[in-house]
Amino acid sequence: MRRKVLEFQKVGKRFRIYQVQKTLFRLGKSLAARIPFKRDLWVLQDISLNIKQGEKVALIGRNGAGKTTFFRVASGIYPATTGTVRRTVPISPLFRYGIGMNPHLPVIDNVYILGAFYGLSAGRIKRKLEEIIDFCELEKLLYLPVKNLSSGQVQRLSFSVFAQSDDAFLAFDESASLADARFQKKCDSYFKQLMTSDKTILIASHNQEILSRYCGRAIWLEEGRMQAFDSCGKTLAAYGKFCQTYNPAEVVRSPALAK
């Protein structure tokens, strides 16, 4: 039996949102007058699930449903406000491309920087440098500052370095929507290989074709609550049905706004 690598038990995540810019004066005034200066925003509520070693799990939901926060709580960037999160292996996250890169330094230096962010040692990067450059197809631009690359090229570079990670649990947020069609094809073969490996994968994407092709189970989040955690086909179908219920004639407005 495969062991659990990630377990959520009644997990909730609350953010304290400040309505205006925090200054010492405003904080002091709010304390003195006992007027709440911040409000609570629950981004995740009551989520219980577990993911087993080697599983490929999709995460779906509308914008603002809590997918990114789910990823951050799962990988340990944010602590849970309520409930418990148990991880038995570290999760290697790819949430955004180009994080930590120095735009003034050349591509070659940024390969080492990205590698360090993804937990790869300088020695390992050195050994894999040719492979990385081949994958991102930026060999002619190695000594060009990163600020001169297009955003697609930055994505290619980030992804190529991340692809060298040998962590057992990888998390991708919207990562399947990559650069141009040619690179997309390359990524497809990488994903194919990844999805048949024994690595655990958690992936969020709006591209349902990719998710249904690769994932065994799917989590559907809506307004921070888990609507379903079932086989990928069933969950995607339920989510698709939910999206179809949108009626353009229906005016969605909160009572407060209507006033």
Partner: protein
């Protein structure tokens, strides 16, 4: 796992520090000298302002002034870098598993190098003037480490306040120039009234450091320097650093959510 994490973070710290250094002026010797232009310009201006009123009563006034300027500008730079390091790297911190402490410590690598270069220039000038007691070199090394800990500690404390109230940086920028007048840079403590002397010595953590550095580099016994002055400096550094570090760890997760 702990060792693996430590190794990963050490690698990230080294890569980021290198990145900061090669993207600054410190990638070449001339560049490092160029960064010394600021303190030299301040020295020129302040020397001509204070030479008649204070300078003639103080032995080695220009060098003493330079040491004071170097210490104060390094302190202010470290505090400012530490305060802004976390908010400037928001994307990295909320999208990867990088500990904020690694980001902060790597960001101060350039101020640290700048301080080492500048204090070395002061020592070289003292050697050139034939006043530098070479036996003090190891004490100076130790003192430099503690001075850096003091700057980091104050930076940590202010960084926490800054994450709770955004005007803290502005307030610090407004009040930090006062430090120039409350530190014995262009005057000596025995020029002050007993009341002013006690205030400048006991309440200002920079004062014991200024006295110790000036004494160790110039080889002139300050009237107020005793072995207790060294102890005083070390206690300030250790206590502020430990308090800052403790508070940073305590509020780390909250700061992350406020980013």
């Amino acid at each position: 796992m702990l060792m693996k994490n430590l190794k990963k973070h050490l690698n990230l710290f080294l890569v980021l520090s290198r990145m900061h250094i090669i993207s600054s002026d410190y990638r070449s010797f001339l560049g490092a000298l160029w960064s010394f232009a600021g303190p030299l310009l301040s020295l020129g201006v302040l020397y001509f302002i204070f030479i008649d009123r204070f300078g003639r009563q103080i032995p080695h006034f220009p060098l003493r002034l330079l040491i004071g300027i170097v210490l104060l500008s390094s302190f202010k730079l470290v505090v400012q870098v530490v305060m802004q390091a976390v908010s400037a790297n928001r994307d990295v911190i909320i999208n990867s598993l990088t500990p904020p402490l690694v980001i902060v410590l790597s960001a101060v690598s350039v101020p640290f190098l700048k301080f080492i270069v500048e204090i070395t220039v002061c020592i070289a000038l003292a050697v050139f003037a034939g006043i530098f007691p070479f036996r003090n070199i190891f004490s100076l090394l130790g003192l430099s480490v503690f001075f850096f800990l003091l700057s980091l500690g104050v930076g940590f404390i202010l960084a926490i306040l800054y994450s709770f109230a955004t005007d803290v940086l502005e307030i610090w920028n407004s009040i930090s120039p006062i430090l120039f007048f409350v530190c014995p840079i262009f005057y000596t403590l025995n020029m002050l009234s007993p009341w002013g002397r006690n205030l400048a010595y006991t309440l200002n953590p920079l004062t014991p450091f200024m006295i110790c550095f000036q004494t160790l580099i110039l080889g002139v016994q300050e009237p107020h320097l005793t072995s207790a002055t060294y102890l005083h400096a070390l206690l300030w550094a250790l206590s502020l650093f430990l308090i800052g570090l403790f508070l940073s760890k305590k509020f780390e997760k909250q700061i992350l959510e406020y980013l």
